[in-house]
């Protein structure tokens, strides 16, 4: 299991395209638009922007690290090869999910650093730690979702599918873009995990706990995506 994690982390770290998407893009966005001074409801705008970009980095990282490459691994027979080693199915699944959650860290660290240095965000250490903790836990449904997409889609479609889902969730959840959405979409966004995570993050930096609704939305997405992954895995590996 440890050797599998080490292998996958090395492999991910070598993927330059992926690292750019994961770190450079949210940091770049933050530097372009996030460094505004002023407050909104007593919270620095630059801190709110930090939450949004950290969520971007976290959800993108989890989706791609857990799911990206799984489709290629399946197509090339690598997963089949792993199945005849002592690595169990459960370990493989757990490894992918842990990888997804771990790969949240580089992007979040990059955005946090940008917020600290360029955005002059002032947060007590406790809130900062709570935010990072929330992002790690809250990226779990995204990791599972990415893994599910990697298991059902093939080749380039899988990469594309993950990117499409990522941006859809980012726009719906208010990670990208500001203001309310038109009509019924404003209601729908409340049910997305990305919205839950952004709002939860905003609450944390303001010194509150995330609301029950936010926690429930994230938990339901986690369970649903988790069950979908397990069902799909059983189906594809059955005799």
């Amino acid at each position: 299991m440890m050797s599998f994690m080490r292998f996958e982390i090395t492999r991910t770290a070598r993927n330059v395209k992926y690292l750019i998407f994961l770190i450079a893009v949210p940091v770049g966005f933050y530097l372009l638009w996030g460094r505004q001074s002023g407050d909104q409801d007593g919270v620095q705008i630059s801190a709110l922007a930090l939450v949004a970009m950290a969520v971007y980095a976290a959800t993108g990282g989890a989706l791609m690290a857990a799911g990206g490459g799984v489709a290629d691994d399946r197509a090339q027979g690598w997963i089949r090869q792993l199945k005849v080693t002592p690595l169990s199915d459960a370990q493989w699944l757990a490894g992918r999910i842990v990888l997804g959650v771990l790969m949240v860290l580089p992007g979040v660290a990059g955005v946090s650093l940008a917020g600290l240095l360029a955005g002059h965000v002032h947060l007590p250490a406790g809130r900062w730690a709570a935010l990072i903790g929330l992002l790690l836990v809250g990226s779990l449904p995204f990791g599972l979702l990415g893994l599910f997409l990697g298991l059902i889609l093939r080749g380039k479609t899988a990469q594309l599918g993950i990117v499409v889902v990522f941006f859809a969730l980012a726009v719906l959840g208010g990670v990208i873009g500001a203001g309310a959405l038109p009509g019924v979409w404003e209601k729908i966004r409340q049910l997305t995990p990305s919205y839950g995570l952004v709002q939860g993050g905003n609450a944390v930096i303001a010194g509150h706990a995330p609301t029950v609704t936010q926690a429930v939305v994230l938990a339901v997405w986690t369970v649903v995506a988790g069950v979908a992954v397990i069902l799909r895995w059983r189906q594809s590996s059955g005799a």
């Binding site: 080490r6 292998f7 492999r11 090339q76 027979g77 080693t85």
Partner: protein
């Protein structure tokens, strides 16, 4: 039970309406190298998948190293080179071998495995940059990194040229010296002959022969004798000792024989006028046709 590496007993497996395996039975003894020989679609790969627990049999029992296939694989005592197994993108050969060594619990060192598979100089390359033979050696490296008691090789040399094939088998021999049992699927009779202690011939999912390589070749009308005769007489040629089949084109004669020495001797003494004599081993094609038709008639 433990004295057999593989017990494959009355196993059947269907895919839709196709019977991939039909009450198939064979064994692989401890330390034995057994070839599963047959055409594409004979059931070899299905048998390998079943022995590795990748699929479940519809009927029958499979015991691997005294336990179930999936337990044997999980215990790390089995190594496998799959026909459809692949290598990942974005990783070097060293990364892949290090992973394999780790998964098998560090029974061999990375450097040792690289050396064993002849990959030391390629260790820094990406898997996607390798030739077919090199990639196959990486798959082999994964299979032996746990010092397995039982090694499965599914058509290990199918895409390789003659040179790469010879190199590959030299590496396998080196690795199997520790007393491991080896089961390999192939459709090259020559390969089965050279590397196996015993050959199990599969045809349409059934075992049509299970014997030593030389016995298999003999059963199949082991040798072909070609010559030119002034006036070939099929009846007299068929009556020669060892001859099982006669083909005549004009003056060209082709004899299949179980006992080439005596056939040739009698060809000279009782028929005479023999020109351009040539004795060769029979190919798999002939062997399989002969074995399959024998079994089908019975």
């Amino acid at each position: 039970m433990e004295n057999s590496a593989v017990l494959f007993h009355e196993v059947s497996k269907r895919f839709g309406t196709t019977r991939a395996l039909d009450h198939t039975s064979f064994t692989v003894g401890r330390g034995e190298t057994v070839a599963l020989l047959g055409h594409n679609g004979a059931g070899k790969s299905t048998a390998v998948d079943l022995m590795l627990g990748l699929r479940r049999p519809d009927e029958g029992d499979i015991t691997i190293l005294g336990t179930s296939p999936s337990r044997a694989v999980a215990s790390g005592r089995v190594g496998a080179l799959l026909q459809t197994g692949g290598l990942p993108d974005g990783a070097t050969i060293r990364d892949i071998v290090r992973l394999a060594c780790g998964l098998y619990g560090g029974k061999r060192h990375v450097g040792e495995v690289l050396e064993l598979a002849g990959l030391t100089e390629l260790a820094g390359r990406q898997a996607t940059e390798l030739s077919g033979g090199q990639a196959q050696r990486v798959r082999f490296a994964i299979a032996v990194s746990g010092r397995p008691d039982l090694l499965f090789l599914d058509e290990p040399t199918v895409a390789l040229d003659v040179e790469a094939r010879r190199e590959f088998w030299a590496v396998v021999r080196g690795a199997a010296e520790g007393g491991a049992s080896v089961a390999f699927a192939t459709h090259y009779l020559e390969e089965a002959d050279q590397f196996a202690d015993r050959v199990v011939v599969l045809s349409h999912g059934r075992v049509v022969a299970d014997a030593t390589p030389s016995a298999i070749k003999a059963m199949a009308g082991g040798r072909t004798v070609r010559c030119v005769l002034a006036a070939p007489d099929p009846q007299r040629l068929l009556a020669l000792p060892g001859v099982v089949d006669v083909t005549i084109h004009g003056n060209d004669v082709l004899l299949r024989t179980d006992d080439a020495d005596r056939t040739v001797e009698m060809l000279y003494t009782s028929i005479g006028g023999v020109r351009d004599l040539e004795v060769t081993g029979a190919g798999l094609e002939e062997a399989l046709i002969s074995l399959s038709s024998r079994k089908d008639q019975s």
